[in-house]
Amino acid sequence: MPNRVLPILSELAEAHRTAKKYAKISRVLSRGRFETAENQAVRWHLHFDGREVSSTLCRVEDGTLEWSKGPEVSAADLLQKEILREKCREIAGGKTADLSKLGIILHLADQVERGIVFESYEKPESHADAQVAVRDFPGTVIAGLGESTERSAQWRTYPLVAPERTIALKHELSLLEALENLTEPEFDVKVAIHSAPIEMLALLLLIYGTALGDKPHCFALYYDRFTLLAPFSDGVLDLKVLPHRSQDIPENFGDDFFSLLEPLGLLSSCTLVLAPCGSKDASRLFEVLDSYAHLHQKQVDGLEVQILNSESIWHTTSKPAGEPLDPATVQRPELLTGEYSNWFGSEKEISFSVGIEPEIQRLGILSRVSFFPDDQATREKRLPRSLAMLLLSLKIGRYLGVLFLLGLAGILGFHVLNAYRGDAMKLASDVVSRESGSYNELNASLQYVKKWGKNLAPRSNAWSVMDFVLTLLPESPDIACNSIHYSVRPADVRLTAKSANKPGGFAREWVITGACSEKGREQLARLQENAALTAIFNDVAQRLNQPIFAIENKRTVKAISRVELNSQQVNLVARELPYKFSLTVTQEIPADDTLALPVIAKATNP
């Protein structure tokens, strides 16, 4: 498993490195960086015919095109990627300049070849499928290629609506390696390769315009290394490439010309336009053709020959451009088809209508088709803007995540510092434990004191009981006590057994016996008055600070005295105190009294 995972991860890592190079923030934010070379702010047009290179710059300034001469480049320089990079930097503004706003458009007039399209793609209506298939699998569209998919030889298909067929042209891209190097992420130069003869043909159709409807034409585009013949009648009827094979003109130009036009029936009435597209005069083609016609006794009365010169082309194209075009600056008229694409109409999709106007529009669109490799591998190598934005968004998200992480760590640190700044964290747990123990101990002591303070509140003490007797019967010659009996009993005997766990009421009883005089008898009688007795109890309670004597709430007191004549008056004292008495004083403390007998639970020591 790891043997499979590691290479996959390695591939993904490599893809990720490449994606990161494409997804620079300045690039992602600029929509132009993802556009084609033709839509860049600065376009460097290179025209190469196999021998000479012309270099022109076109900048878009305030919506208008500004032409200027490009850097000097030789044919050999085009193969040197380092030199090309230097030239690009020179155009962009210096060694550290951003090259991603630069588009290079190579107009190739070299090594062009025509191919035969398979029948399945021959109908012009199949163009959409054909142009997709020819980029990935040219062997499925072009006859005789087999499965060869050499990237340095690129095919493109051209639907010819008038004859209802499709032809293909191939350009050999000997400069591909150097150009592809410029498209690497670190340079990000956009590159397009246009077919110069197709551009020139489109331009000529535009120049001739309505004149094309008067009679058939045949355009001969005379480049230094090949001549392209394009017969036209209600549309382009064919495209024939005649290589010069190291000669000035095609080897069998007369044969090829007549064999092309005779089957089409154009010799009886046709305008042959000889367009000088290379360094040589096009009249040379005419001379060859003229001598061929004489030699082979060809009937050419209906053939009208027009030999264009470059001045007339520039003069004609200056009109739609709206300004005079300087041939010394622009150098090549092929460049105009791309830069002034509006000349060919606003349509972006190819129409398949027959006619001069649709044909001009069609050729205008086809002239801008790029021969730069556009197979699946190349397409996959380019990072789309959507993915670049996704990558950038995730990168921003990552930074935000890191910030969030740092913020979270900061918050944690702040919480820790803040917490340790206060006293709470310094509090040792043993202090708390000790204090808790101390609190429990003190609380238990307090509860103990409260409980036993209440339980042991004075309810029945000998000293106060005796003192009460003295208050009840103060020292006097009129009363003599013989005995005092004090006891405590339950207030209600019936409840005693039942309420072991409830406070109990109780009664205190004094029984005093003795002898008294008549005056003492009266004194004892007054004690039976409840108010007098209550006053005595309250007085004792206050004087002795013994609340048990206080007659309050539901506490009750009563006194009963029994006095009778003492029949045994044996001594002097008995004679002075003729009565014997028995005084019973009872105080009742009810069960709901604060000093009722408490329930003493089985306590535990604090």
């Binding site: 591939e11 993904l12 893809a15 990720h16 490449t18 994606a19 397409r379 996959e380 990072l383 996704l390 990558l391 995730l394 995540g401 944690l412 919480h415 820790v416 917490a419 709470a424 964290m425 708390v432 204090e435 609190y439 003190l442 002591s445 103990y448 004191v449 036993w452 339980n455 042991l456 029945s460 003490n461 000998a462 000293w463 005796m466 007797v469 003295l470 020292e475 006097s476 003599a480 006590c481 013989n482 005995s483 005092i484 009996h485 004090y486 006891s487 405590v488 339950p490 005693t496 072991a500 766990n501 409830k502 406070p503 109990g504 109780f506 007998l597 329930v599 003493i600 306590a603 020591n605």
Partner: protein, 183 residues
């Protein structure tokens, strides 16, 4: 494009999410745990402050009885009760001469409080003195102050010599106490 998408999803989404997610979750947990810990400590501190205040209040409340508390516990302890009662009686009588008051009976027996069952099981103390009224009163005051757990069940005073007032004669006294204890 798929290759780039996979690479972006792996290196810009999955791995960063993992590398950031784990510490973020960890920090969240740590933050929550620390906050909980700090809250607990704060609560503990507040309880400590409150308890310290309560302790001060308790100490203040206990201050008047602090010295008496050991004595109270000693009095209420069930062990060695007879010896303590003996010492208490002797201490109550030591200020007086035998002519003023003398103890003729000391008896401690186990048994319940006859008045109220809520006192539970305890000891019953029977005392008999011979003496004058005032020494008798003062001795009782002395004994009951030292032994606040004595609950007087009954008191019988009988003149042993002639006299018109209870405090002017020599008295025979029988005292019966219930001794309240903790157990």
């Amino acid at each position: 494009m798929k290759k780039y998408l996979k690479a972006i999803l792996v290196f810009d989404l999955a791995i960063p999410a993992l590398l950031l997610g784990i510490p973020v979750i960890g920090l969240f947990i740590a933050l929550a745990a620390f906050d909980s810990f700090a809250d607990a400590k704060k609560e503990e501190f507040e309880q400590h402050a409150e308890q310290a205040q309560q302790i001060a209040v308790l100490r203040h409340q206990l201050e008047p009885v602090r010295d008496k508390l050991p004595m109270l516990k000693s009095v209420l302890a069930g062990a060695d009760i007879e010896a303590r009662l003996d010492r208490g009686i002797s201490s109550a009588l030591e200020k007086f001469s035998p002519d003023e008051i003398e103890s003729t009976l000391r008896d401690v027996q186990p048994g319940p409080f006859p008045v109220q069952q809520t006192f539970g099981e305890g000891k019953r103390l029977a005392l008999r003195f011979r003496g004058f009224w005032e020494p008798l009163t003062l001795a009782a005051l002395n004994l009951e102050t030292q032994q606040p757990n004595l609950f007087l069940e009954s008191l019988a005073l009988q003149k042993s010599q002639g006299g018109s007032q209870p405090n002017s004669s020599y008295l025979e006294s029988d005292l019966s106490y219930f001794v309240i204890t903790e157990n």
